[in-house]
C-alpha cells in the first residue's frame, strides 16, 4: 500500500520536532518536571519560569500582555470558558424561577465550530437567547445583519476568525469595532487562524480569543484563552480548586504541554511568512490541477487576499465539491489521502456538512465536498501524488454513474 499523504492539517498538525524536544525536557527526572505551583523549592520555581516563558511566547504572537493569557486544555475548553464565563458573570438569574433576567442575549453564527454552537445550545437551556447569523454564500458575515441582530440586552458576540471547514476569514476588526461601540463583549475562536494570519489584539478590540496547541504544531490537550485586561471583560470560572490562572482556571499546570505550546507559537511567529508562502504555493498547484477535472466547486475564496490587501481566505484549507460523486464513495476512493469530508469531528456522520448547508449548498454538493488542508510539512511531491490520485479516482468513480 502506498504511503498515506497527510492533508488534514486543519484537523490537527504533527508536533514539530523542535517543540517535542522542548517538551521532553519537562517530563523526566532529569528534566523540569516539578509542579510550577511549588514555589517553596527551586525545581518548582524553575518549572514556573518555563511556564511564564511560554506565556510570553503565546502573548507575543498576538501582541497581548502575558498576564492576559490563561492556560486551558484546548480551544473547546477556551470557548466554553469564554461563552459560559461571560454569560454567567454578566447576567442575573432569578432565584425563584431560575430564569436569566438581564443581558441574556448572545449572537453567533451558524457556521461556528460545534464547540461554540453546542455551548450556545447549553446556554439556551439555561434561559439565554441566542441569535444564529446566517453567513452570505461566500461564508462571511454581513455587518448589517450583525448590527440588526444586536439588542440592548446582548451580552456577547462570538464569531470565529477562520472557518475550520472552508478556511474563510471573518472581518474580526469590523466586528470588534461594532461590539466595542455597543459595549458588547466580543469573543473570537482563533483555533484555525493562529500562525496563519497575523493577529494583533493591541489594534483590534477583541475581548476574548481561543487558541489550541495542536493546530499549530504543538501538542494536543493544551489551549489558551486570551482575556483582555479591562473592567468590561469579566469571566466567571468553570473549574474551581486552587485558584490557578488568576482564579479563572484551576488545576495543576501541565508544564510540558505549556512549554510545547509556547515553543509552537514562537516558531509560528518566526516562520509565519515562510510557512504562508510555502502553503500558498502548494494550494495554488493543487487547486489549479483539480479545476480541469470539471464539475468542481470551490467552497471558499479563490483569492487569498481582498483588493485592499486584507486576508479573506487561509491558504491551508481548500474545500472542493465534486459533482457526480457520492461523498462516502469519494472519501473511500481517496483513502490514500488523509483528508476530511465535512469537519473532522463529524466525519463518521454521513449528514451533509452543516457549514456548507448554511452557505446555501445543496445536500449533494455538501456531501461530496472534501477538505484538503495543507501544512508546514506538506511537500511538493505529496501534492503531486495527491493530484494523481484525485484525477484517477474522480474519473473512475464518476464513470460508475455516467
Amino acid at each position: 500500500m502506498n504511503k498515506t499523504i497527510y492533508l488534514d492539517y486543519a484537523a490537527t498538525t504533527p508536533v514539530d520536532k523542535r517543540v517535542a524536544e522542548k517538551m521532553v525536557d519537562c517530563m523526566t527526572n532529569e528534566g523540569c518536571f516539578a509542579n510550577p505551583a511549588s514555589s517553596s523549592h527551586h525545581l518548582g520555581r524553575e518549572a514556573r519560569g518555563k511556564v511564564e516563558v511560554a506565556r510570553r511566547q503565546v502573548s507575543a504572537l498576538i501582541n497581548a500582555k502575558p498576564e492576559e493569557i490563561i492556560w486551558t486544555s484546548g480551544a473547546t475548553e477556551s470557548n466554553n470558558l469564554a461563552l459560559k464565563g461571560v454569560a454567567h458573570y454578566h447576567t442575573k438569574v432569578d432565584p425563584n424561577t431560575k430564569q436569566v433576567t438581564e443581558r441574556k442575549h448572545i449572537v453567533t453564527c451558524r457556521t461556528e465550530h460545534k464547540a461554540v454552537l453546542d455551548t450556545c445550545k447549553f446556554l439556551e437551556k439555561e434561559g439565554y437567547e441566542v441569535t444564529y447569523l446566517t453567513p452570505e454564500c461566500n461564508g462571511q458575515i454581513c455587518m448589517q445583519q450583525l448590527n440588526d441582530a444586536l439588542r440592548e440586552d446582548t451580552v456577547l458576540v462570538s464569531i470565529m476568525h477562520v472557518n475550520n471547514e472552508i478556511g474563510v476569514v471573518q472581518d474580526i476588526e469590523a466586528i470588534a469595532q461594532i461590539c466595542s461601540d455597543r459595549d458588547i463583549v466580543f469573543h473570537v475562536d482563533a483555533a484555525q487562524s493562529a500562525g496563519k494570519i497575523a493577529i494583533d489584539v493591541s489594534k483590534t478590540p477583541v475581548d476574548l480569543m481561543s487558541f489550541s496547541g495542536h493546530k499549530i504544531y504543538g501538542p494536543k490537550g493544551i489551549g489558551v484563552l486570551y482575556v483582555r485586561e479591562t473592567q468590561r471583560v469579566q469571566v466567571e470560572p468553570m473549574i474551581h480548586g486552587g485558584g490557578h490562572e488568576s482564579g479563572l482556571r484551576s488545576g495543576t499546570l501541565a508544564t510540558h504541554q505549556i512549554v510545547g505550546m509556547g515553543e509552537a507559537f514562537a516558531l509560528a511567529q518566526a516562520e509565519l511568512e515562510s510557512d504562508s508562502l510555502h502553503i500558498s504555493n502548494l494550494r495554488e498547484k493543487l487547486w489549479s490541477s483539480i479545476k480541469p477535472l470539471g464539475g468542481v466547486q470551490l467552497n471558499g475564496f479563490d483569492e487569498i487576499y481582498r483588493e485592499d490587501g486584507k486576508a479573506q481566505q487561509v491558504a491551508g484549507i481548500l474545500n472542493v465539491s465534486f459533482e457526480g460523486i457520492e461523498g462516502e464513495s469519494l472519501l473511500y476512493a481517496l483513502s490514500e489521502l488523509a483528508v476530511s469530508s465535512g469537519s473532522a469531528c463529524t466525519s463518521a456522520n454521513a449528514e451533509p456538512s452543516y457549514v456548507l448547508r448554511a452557505l446555501g449548498r445543496d445536500d449533494q454538493a455538501a456531501q461530496s465536498s472534501i477538505r484538503f488542508s495543507i501544512g508546514r510539512f506538506t511537500s511538493e511531491s505529496d501534492i503531486d501524488r495527491a493530484i494523481e490520485v484525485i484525477h484517477q479516482q474522480v474519473k473512475r468513480i464518476r464513470a460508475f454513474a455516467a
Binding site: S329, Y332, A333, S341, Q367, F400, A401
Partner: protein
C-alpha cells in the same frame, strides 16, 4: 468514514460489470430505481441472453459493492432473471450496517423491474 470488509473493497476497487459506454443500449433490458439527490441510484441492464448483468450506480461504497456482487452472482450462474435475491444474505456478506438498508431496497426495486419488465 466506515471500515469496509474485503468484499466491499474488492467490488469497489475492481468492479467488473460497470456498463461499458460502447455497448448499444437497444440490445439490453433496462430498469432503474432510486434518485441521485437521495444518495442512491441504480440502473441495471441485462444482455439479450440474460446471462450478464451490467449496471450504472451512484451511491456509497455499499451501493457499488451490492450491485457488483449481484452482477457477479448472475455471471457465475447463481442468480437468474425472475429469481428473487436474498437481500439479508447480501447485507451480511457486505457487513452492511442497518441504516444502509435503503440501498438494498432500491437495488431490489431495480432488480424486480428487470424481472417483470
Amino acid at each position: 468514514m466506515l471500515e469496509y470488509n474485503a468484499l466491499v473493497e474488492n467490488a469497489f476497487m475492481h468492479p467488473q460489470f460497470v456498463l461499458p459506454n460502447n455497448i448499444s443500449l437497444d440490445l439490453l433490458q433496462h430498469s432503474q430505481a432510486g434518485a441521485r439527490p437521495h444518495g442512491v441510484w441504480f440502473a441495471l441492464y441485462f444482455d439479450c441472453n440474460a446471462t450478464k448483468l451490467y449496471y450504472k450506480v451512484y451511491g456509497s461504497p455499499y451501493a457499488i459493492a451490492a450491485v457488483e456482487t449481484l452482477a457477479r452472482l448472475v455471471a457465475d450462474g447463481n442468480l437468474s432473471i425472475g429469481q428473487a435475491f436474498d437481500a439479508e444474505s447480501l447485507r451480511q456478506q457486505l457487513n452492511m450496517p442497518y441504516p444502509y438498508m435503503n440501498v438494498l431496497i432500491k437495488l431490489e426495486d431495480a432488480w424486480m423491474g428487470l424481472s417483470t419488465g
